[in-house]
Structure formats: structure tokens, C-alpha cells
């Protein structure tokens, strides 16, 4: 009797464990497949859901469905901060809404999503040999994005109106510096965090600007924090999205436009939107940050083959500009991680770009502290 029960239990457990085993074996197997080999399975899945931190997902959607008419790409434009919250909640709830996660905020993503097993890495074998190791580990970076100081080049045809970040804390720029609320968008919090991490450079820039050593206010620990405090004291304008920054700074026909932190790549929309955004690359000590936009596959994704196909597609085809899949990102101000995609001719080359390269691990250590600092300043 007992043995009968035992054997029933064993069989039942085996039946439960079997699908899990085959699934993970299947996933490992899938990671090695070429897009052609993935196609049949992806077609059978018929659909793929992408959470994307950029609105350009709509263009990717159209291009992907043209390339693979049998697969419906459902793209959601959700900010990185919100994606992290949603993905954590969905994971806790045991639902997998998303298949592909396309996201910035690497410091939090590595720790809270990858570390917690909410998303996993995937590097398409087709392009693996053309992506440097630093951009394949721990997650695949599709491109480098930016949050940098931009100005209106129509109103300032001779170059940026400021030469040092500390000028933004002075009277002429009171109420005229625009950025997105760092508590609403993680990449702006990363920018603030990097400024704190670069406190030595900020202290030197202070001396260059004002001709004296920086004096820290009480409760302020370093030059970076002092800069953030002074910027907020100078009535920095906080808005909800980068497009608000772009419109405020870039709109044509302004006599005295504000200046602001936004994505270098938004310069691509200058003609369409009627903007005159330009990068203030010469500003001391640095115009801002450059950081990876990473791709991952959600744990328990319902459409694993189509998900891999989307990531392969997003990495660009074999042409030198990456073709249809990379086209929305082949713009001045975005930097492909693939070594064989030629740099965009209209942008400052990455080697001359003065923005700080974000170190996700370092950023993660003090990010929460900087968030609390920003909270006290609002």
C-alpha cells in the first residue's frame, strides 16, 4: 500500500518536473539557434510582447512585422523605472506578460531583475563575435544611449551658451535648466549619481569656474552633492518626459531658450518636430552620461523563440548600418555596440564624446542615497 502511494507520488512528481526540465533544455538549445532555425517555432507562437523604454518600439514593430508577417509584435512603451516595478510585481504574481525586455537603468536591472531571475540574458549567435565582451555581460547591450546637456543651436549658433556645469547654478540660469524628475526616470537618477561619483572632477570644475575651492554646505558630503543641491536651489525645472525637455530647450524661434539634460539622439527629431537641439560637448567637466540600453528575455516567457528572434532583429542585419531592425537607432547620438556597424556621420564620434561612461555596479552602491538626497531637495 505504502509503496503504491510512493510510486504514485514519484510518477506525479516526475510528471511535474518533466516539463520544467524540457523547458530549460529547450531554452539552452534555442540560445544556439540561428534566426532561420528559430523561425518555425516563432511562427507557431505567432506573437511576441516587448516592454520597451523607448517610444521607437513602434517603428521596430512596423519593421519587424514587415520582415516576419506571421508574427505579431506587441510593443509597449514603458519607462525603465516603471518596467522594473511592473516586472517585479508581475514576477511576484507569477505572471509573465512580457517576452522581451528592452531597458536602460542597468544598475537596477542587473541587481533587481537579472539578479532575482526575473529576466535572463540572450546573445544572438549570429552577432556574438561582433559585440565586445563588456557589452555581452551580464546582459546584451544593443546600443549606448545618453543623458547629456543640450542647447538650442538656432539661438546660439556659435556654440553652447555655457562652458562649465557650475554655470547652471548661477543667477542667469535660474529657472532655465530643464530636466526630467530623477525620481521618475532612472536614467536621470543615474546622471545625478554619476555627478556624485565624479565629485573630484566636479570640485576641480568648481575651482575653474569660480576661482576658489568649493565650500560644502552642512550636511553635504562632496562636490557632486553640492552641485545637485545648488541646481535645485536655482529652481531647476522638473518635467515628466524627455520630450518635454526637448520641446522646452529645442523649440525653434525662441529668443532666450532654456538649457537641459536630454538624450543626444533626440537631435534626430529636430527636422520633424521643429527643434534645434545640439550637444554641449565642450562643457566642463562633462556634458553628462553615456549608458547601455540592454536586452533580456523574461523568465517564463510565453513566446521564447519569437523573443529571441526580436532580439536578433534589434541587433541589426548584415548591412553596415544595421538595416531595418536597427534603423530607428541608427541616428546621431546613439552608439551601436556592434563593432561592424559604422558610426553615424552626423554625431560626435564616441572617442571624442566627453560624457562619463556609467559603471552600473558602482552606481548601484549609492543610487538610493542620491535618490533620498533629491527627495529632500524637492
Amino acid at each position: 500500500m505504502k509503496s503504491l502511494l510512493q510510486s504514485v507520488a514519484v510518477v506525479a512528481l516526475g510528471a511535474l518536473a518533466l516539463p520544467a526540465l524540457t523547458l530549460s533544455a529547450l531554452a539552452a538549445d534555442m540560445d544556439k539557434k540561428s534566426p532561420e532555425e528559430l523561425l518555425d517555432a516563432a511562427k507557431a507562437e505567432g506573437q511576441v510582447v516587448v516592454y520597451s523604454f523607448t517610444s521607437r518600439i513602434k517603428k521596430v514593430e512596423a519593421a519587424f512585422e514587415e520582415a516576419y508577417p506571421e508574427i505579431d509584435l506587441v510593443g509597449y512603451d514603458i519607462s525603465s523605472t516603471e518596467q522594473i516595478t511592473r516586472l517585479q510585481a508581475e514576477h511576484q504574481a507569477g505572471v509573465a506578460n512580457a517576452d522581451v525586455v528592452y531597458i536602460s537603468d542597468a544598475p537596477v536591472v542587473f541587481d533587481k531583475l537579472l539578479g532575482a531571475g526575473i529576466i535572463g540574458p540572450y546573445v544572438p549567435p549570429r552577432v556574438a563575435d561582433r559585440v565586445p565582451a563588456e557589452f555581452k555581460n551580464p546582459l546584451l547591450a544593443q546600443r549606448l544611449s545618453t543623458k547629456v546637456l543640450m542647447y538650442n543651436e538656432q539661438s546660439h549658433p556659435d556654440g553652447p551658451p555655457v562652458s562649465n556645469l557650475w554655470e547652471l547654478t548661477t543667477a542667469p540660469w535660474k529657472g532655465r535648466v530643464v530636466m526630467v524628475d530623477p525620481l521618475q526616470r532612472g536614467d536621470y537618477l543615474d546622471l545625478m549619481t554619476e555627478i556624485v561619483l565624479q565629485s573630484d572632477a566636479m570640485a576641480a570644475a568648481y575651482e575653474a569656474q569660480f576661482g576658489k575651492t568649493i565650500a560644502l554646505a552642512s550636511g553635504v558630503n562632496n562636490a557632486g552633492e553640492q552641485f545637485i543641491a545648488d541646481l535645485f536651489a536655482n529652481d531647476v525645472i522638473l518635467v515628466g518626459s524627455t520630450d518635454d525637455v526637448n520641446a522646452a530647450v529645442g523649440k525653434l524661434g525662441q529668443s532666450n531658450p532654456p538649457i537641459g539634460f536630454t538624450s543626444y539622439s533626440d537631435r534626430r527629431d529636430n527636422a520633424e518636430e521643429g527643434w534645434a537641439l545640439q550637444l554641449a560637448n565642450s562643457v566642463e567637466p562633462s556634458p553628462g552620461i553615456v549608458f547601455p540600453a540592454v536586452l533580456g528575455i523574461a523568465e517564463g516567457a510565453k513566446n521564447p523563440a519569437a523573443a529571441r528572434l526580436v532580439i536578433d532583429f534589434l541587433m541589426g542585419d548584415e548591412s553596415e548600418t544595421g538595416g531595418a531592425g536597427f534603423k530607428p537607432f541608427y541616428v546621431p547620438g546613439d552608439y551601436a555596440t556592434r563593432t561592424d556597424i559604422v558610426p553615424h556621420p552626423d554625431a560626435v564620434p564616441l572617442s571624442e564624446f566627453a560624457a562619463w561612461r556609467v559603471n552600473p555596479e558602482k552606481t548601484a552602491t549609492i543610487r538610493a542615497e542620491v535618490a533620498d538626497l533629491v527627495l529632500t531637495l524637492q
Partner: protein
């Protein structure tokens, strides 16, 4: 022996008529309302989140995290209550007590603003008054060359104006109903005794209507305190935070423990003030104003002020109702809100995707996200209206049947509790409880079921109110006779109560439908990209700078809301005693 006795009393307990129903209702209400509130409290008391209380209440963060938002919230609550009592009271006095021309039209106009969702009103304000502070599109008035100062474009002043115009119809209805009960004999007696108008007002009318004034004021207070959309749209750009926007901000960036703590505090604060309002009213027991047959008093003769006051009343209503509707419709056609009446295009409604407009967003008729949001919103409205009405009927039935005892008292208090809970705090509590699997039950995060549960619970007070009114209307004799013939509970409900009160029930259901379709504060936290609802879609478009799309969606919600409200009013053939001559 003891066991036997227990068994006997136990049997009686369950055999008592309606006992099963009572216990069923208690269980449902406990799951819907008590459990989420209990859970959110327990979550913040766990060792790893206990620190959030200190962060919020006494740390270097607390001024910005809690005390400043609290101050703003209190200012909003007090000013909205005051403003609504003044405007609503003024309109009610005009309509009920005076010989102002167009009384009926003024009465109807005064009830309209509440049908306009508050986020739509805030968007309309933005279309008119937005200035250059944030860059991007400027508003219509700035476009005309007027220089709109920051204080009029953003922050406290516009929030207050929009909230007062939204909630004054609530105080109007309450105060007008009370004024209509002022017995003319009282007034005439006073007049005959030689009392001056001022004396009549302060000696008779004010004391008699005081409970209504306080009730209307506390409703407006609660509304202002818990409103999310208006301060979020008009206040956040100038860093004006209220408790509602803080809760939303904390939840959105994953600082849930802090968000929960602020939510609990917000519930306690609103509950305290509503309790205080109740307390003030019930302190004096007797407000009997209906004494035999009193005729309608001679109306106050406004004399030369008749027309100016009429113009003022209509002006207020036009500003609060017609202008926002008109502005929203116009701006959903105009590429630039600074030139509201130029270059009209149907693009935002029926345009195909063009890369040069709004980053290639197609018009709302071709936008699959909006179509699915529309379907889900309507589905949610119908489901909640149906489920809520049935539940409301069952709850009130069980309450009417068993008047005393622990169970009915608990049920009655629990099901009116949501009135004290701001929507955003309620949403937070629902995420805390149903965001993770409970035992064998899967998590409800991101499901339609979660939206239905939360919305049903949130609107239960209104459903129960409808249920009570309906059951009290149907004479107990009918029930008794049916019961004597052996008809069971469901049979009596379906053959007598429901058919006899179908108008009242449907009107109640429609109101629940409207309330959920235009709600933002409850659903804004429950929203997931795969389960979108219209109001959140509109809010997101508005905060991302796609004003025209936001306004087009708002027009859709507004249309549904106004049409259904009017239908409900008609069905109810609402007794408006202040219109009788």
C-alpha cells in the same frame, strides 16, 4: 453537556432566518474591504519595512515625503470645502429660496459639473492657461498674447479652482435638498414677528441647513483630499506634491513600503475629518423640519439683483461645465492649443500614423491600445455595475432583515468604509494583498478580475445605498405575503423586489458605471500595459505631452459619462423637491 448546549445553540444560530445570507455577506465584505486594509497595515509592520515609518514621519526625508504634501493636502481639503459650500450654497439658495429667473435651468446646470471627470477638467485648464514655464505647447490664452503668470498656470491656485468647480455640484445637491425642507411657516412666522432678512437667515435658515452644509462640506473636503488627477496634472510640474501624488510617485519607483505608509496615513486623515463632520451633525439630535403641511414660502424678492445674480449663476455653470467640454473638443482637433481654432484636423481622431506628428501615433480610432482600453473600460463598467448592484442588494437585504447584532453592524460599517478611503490608497491596499498568490489562489496582479474586485469594493457604499432605498420602497407586506405562500428568498427577490424597483436599481447601476468609467485615482495603480483603461491612457498621454490624444480620449470618457448620467437621472425621475412650486 456543554457540548450538547453548544450544538443546540449552534443549530439555532444557523437556522435563524437570513443567517446564512448575513454570514455570506459578511465574508464577501471582509474579503473585499477588510482584508486589503489589514494586509497593507501588516506589510508596513514587517521588520524589514518598519523603517519606512521612520523615513516618512521623522527623518531628514519626512518634510518632503510627508509634511509638505500633508500641508498641501489640508489646504486643498479646506479650501475646496469652503469654496464648494460658498458656491454650492449660493446656487442652492438662489434656486430654492429666491425668485431668480431661469431657476430650473440654473438647477440643472448646477448638477452638471460633477459629470465631467476631474482629470478632464484639469486638462481643459491646461489647454487654456498653460504658460511657457515648461516649454513645449503653450495654452490658448498665452497664444493670444496674454502673459499668464506661473501661479495661474500651475500649482495650488489652478488645482483649487478646478477642484471647486468639480465638487460644488455635490454641495449644491445636498444643500438644495435641505433648503427645500425649510418649512415656510417658520420663515413666515419670523417675518410676521418683524424679523429682518438677515435675522431670518442667521436665525432660521442657517441653523436648519447646517447639517447639510457640514455634510456637503465634508464630502467636498474628502473629494479634494483624495483627488489625484488634478494635483498630478497641474501641481507636479511646479513640484507641488499632495499625499495622493506622493503615494503614486513612491509606488511607481518601487519604494512601496513608503508608499503604503503614506497611504495608511492618508486613510486615517480622511477618516478623521469625515468622522468629525458626522460628529458635528449628530451632536444635535433633532433637526426635524417637516411639521405637518407647510406651504412653500413666498420667495425672497431679489429686486434689482434678479438679473445680475442670474447672470452670475449661469456664468459659474458655464465656466464649470460648458467651457471645459468645449475646450477639450476643440483641442482634440487643433494641432496647437495656442491656436485653438486654427488648422483643425481629424488626425487625432481618425488619422493614420505619420512620423511627423506625435512620433507616429495614429488617431485614436486606429490606435489598438486605445481600442482595447475602451473595450476593457466598458467591460469593467458593466461588470462592476452588475456585480455591485447585486451585492448591494444582498447586503441591504441582509441589513434590513436583521436589524441588530454584531454581524449586521460589522457589515454595515465595513461596507461604508470605502467612502473614507481615497482611491489611490485603496488601489495600493489591493496591490499589497492581491499582488502575490494567496495559498492556492493565483495572484490577480494585472488581471481583469483585480480591477473588478477593487472597483466593486470601492463603489460598494453607493451600491448599498441604492439597494437600501430600493428595499425600503417595496412594502414589507408584499414580502410577507409571498413568504406565506412559501416563496424562497431568491424567488421573492426576483419576482417582487427587483421588478418593482427596476428603475431605481438601473439608475443606481448606471451611476456606479459612470463612477468607474471616469475614475482615475483607483485604477492608476492597478493599471498594467496589458490591462489598460481609458482614464489612465488619457492621463499618460497628458503627462507625456501628447495633449491632443489625451484630450480626444477625455472627450470619449466625458461623452460616455454625461450620456449615462443623464440617462440615470431620467430613470430615477429624481425627486428634486426644490423645483416644485
Amino acid at each position: 453537556m456543554a457540548e450538547l448546549a453548544l450544538g443546540a445553540s449552534g443549530r439555532r444560530f444557523f437556522a435563524a432566518p437570513g443567517r446564512t445570507l448575513s454570514l455570506f455577506v459578511l465574508a464577501v465584505v471582509a474579503i473585499l474591504i477588510a482584508a486589503p486594509l489589514l494586509k497593507i497595515t501588516l506589510v508596513t509592520l514587517a521588520p524589514e519595512t518598519l523603517g519606512a515609518w521612520r523615513d516618512v514621519l521623522s527623518s531628514r526625508l519626512s518634510p518632503n515625503l510627508f509634511y509638505k504634501p500633508l500641508t498641501n493636502t489640508m489646504i486643498i481639503g479646506a479650501a475646496v470645502a469652503g469654496g464648494c459650500v460658498l458656491i454650492g450654497g449660493f446656487l442652492a439658495w438662489l434656486v430654492v429660496m429666491t425668485d431668480v429667473p431661469f431657476r430650473r435651468s440654473i438647477a440643472v446646470l448646477s448638477t452638471l459639473p460633477f459629470m465631467i471627470p476631474s482629470f478632464a477638467a484639469a486638462m481643459a485648464w491646461s489647454v487654456l492657461f498653460r504658460n511657457e514655464r515648461l516649454g513645449g505647447q503653450i495654452g490658448f490664452l498665452q497664444g493670444l498674447g496674454l502673459d499668464i503668470p506661473d501661479w495661474l498656470a500651475w500649482g495650488m491656485v489652478p488645482s483649487l479652482i478646478v477642484l471647486i468647480t468639480h465638487y460644488y455640484s455635490l454641495t449644491f445637491t445636498v444643500i438644495a435638498a435641505a433648503l427645500a425642507t425649510v418649512n415656510s411657516d417658520l420663515v413666515e412666522a419670523a417675518q410676521m414677528a418683524g424679523a429682518k432678512r438677515r435675522k431670518v437667515f442667521f436665525g432660521i435658515i442657517l441653523p436648519v441647513t447646517l447639517p447639510a452644509v457640514i455634510a456637503g462640506g465634508s464630502l467636498a473636503f474628502a473629494g479634494g483630499v483624495s483627488n489625484f488627477a488634478v494635483p498630478a496634472l497641474l501641481g507636479l510640474p511646479v513640484r507641488m506634491q499632495t499625499l495622493s501624488t506622493r503615494i503614486f510617485g513612491m509606488m511607481e519607483v518601487g519604494q512601496t513600503a513608503r508608499g503604503y505608509v503614506i497611504a495608511i496615513l492618508l486613510v486615517l486623515i480622511s477618516a478623521f475629518f469625515l468622522w468629525l463632520g458626522n460628529r458635528l451633525i449628530t451632536g444635535r439630535r433633532s433637526y426635524a423640519t417637516i411639521t405637518g403641511k407647510g406651504g412653500r414660502a413666498k420667495r425672497f424678492d431679489l429686486g434689482g439683483l434678479r438679473w445680475p445674480l442670474c447672470a452670475a449663476a449661469i456664468g459659474i455653470s458655464v465656466f464649470a461645465t460648458i467651457v471645459p467640454i468645449f475646450v477639450l473638443i476643440a483641442s482634440s482637433f487643433a494641432p496647437s492649443s495656442s491656436a485653438l481654432f486654427s488648422n483643425w484636423t481629424l488626425h487625432y481622431w481618425i488619422g493614420q500614423s505619420t512620423p511627423s506628428i506625435a512620433q507616429g501615433l495614429a488617431g485614436i480610432a486606429y490606435n489598438p491600445d486605445i481600442l482595447s482600453a475602451l473595450t476593457i473600460t466598458l467591460g469593467l463598467g458593466f461588470t462592476v455595475a452588475a456585480v455591485g448592484t447585486v451585492l448591494g442588494l444582498l447586503v441591504s437585504y441582509s441589513l434590513v432583515r436583521a436589524k441588530r447584532g454584531v454581524v449586521p453592524t460589522t457589515v454595515s460599517q465595513l461596507c461604508f468604509l470605502p467612502l473614507f478611503i481615497p482611491g489611490i490608497a485603496f488601489g495600493a491596499a489591493y496591490i499589497a494583498l492581491y499582488g502575490a498568490p494567496i495559498g492556492p489562489f493565483p495572484a490577480l496582479y494585472g488581471t481583469f478580475a483585480l480591477l473588478v474586485l477593487a472597483a466593486t469594493a470601492f463603489l460598494l457604499p453607493f451600491a448599498v445605498q441604492t439597494g437600501r432605498a430600493v428595499i425600503q420602497q417595496v412594502s414589507g407586506d408584499l414580502e410577507e405575503s409571498a413568504r406565506l405562500t412559501g416563496a424562497g428568498f431568491l424567488r421573492r427577490l426576483s419576482a417582487i423586489t427587483i421588478p418593482l424597483s427596476i428603475r431605481g436599481l438601473s439608475a443606481g447601476a448606471l451611476l456606479v458605471f459612470v463612477k468607474i468609467v471616469r475614475d482615475l485615482s483607483l485604477v492608476v495603480l492597478l493599471f498594467t500595459p496589458t490591462m489598460p483603461v481609458l482614464s489612465v491612457v488619457a492621463y499618460r498621454y497628458a503627462s507625456e505631452g501628447f495633449a491632443q490624444f489625451a484630450n480626444a480620449v477625455a472627450v470619449v470618457i466625458l461623452g460616455i459619462s454625461v450620456a449615462v448620467s443623464l440617462l440615470a437621472n431620467k430613470l430615477q425621475a429624481k425627486s428634486q423637491p426644490w423645483l416644485k412650486n
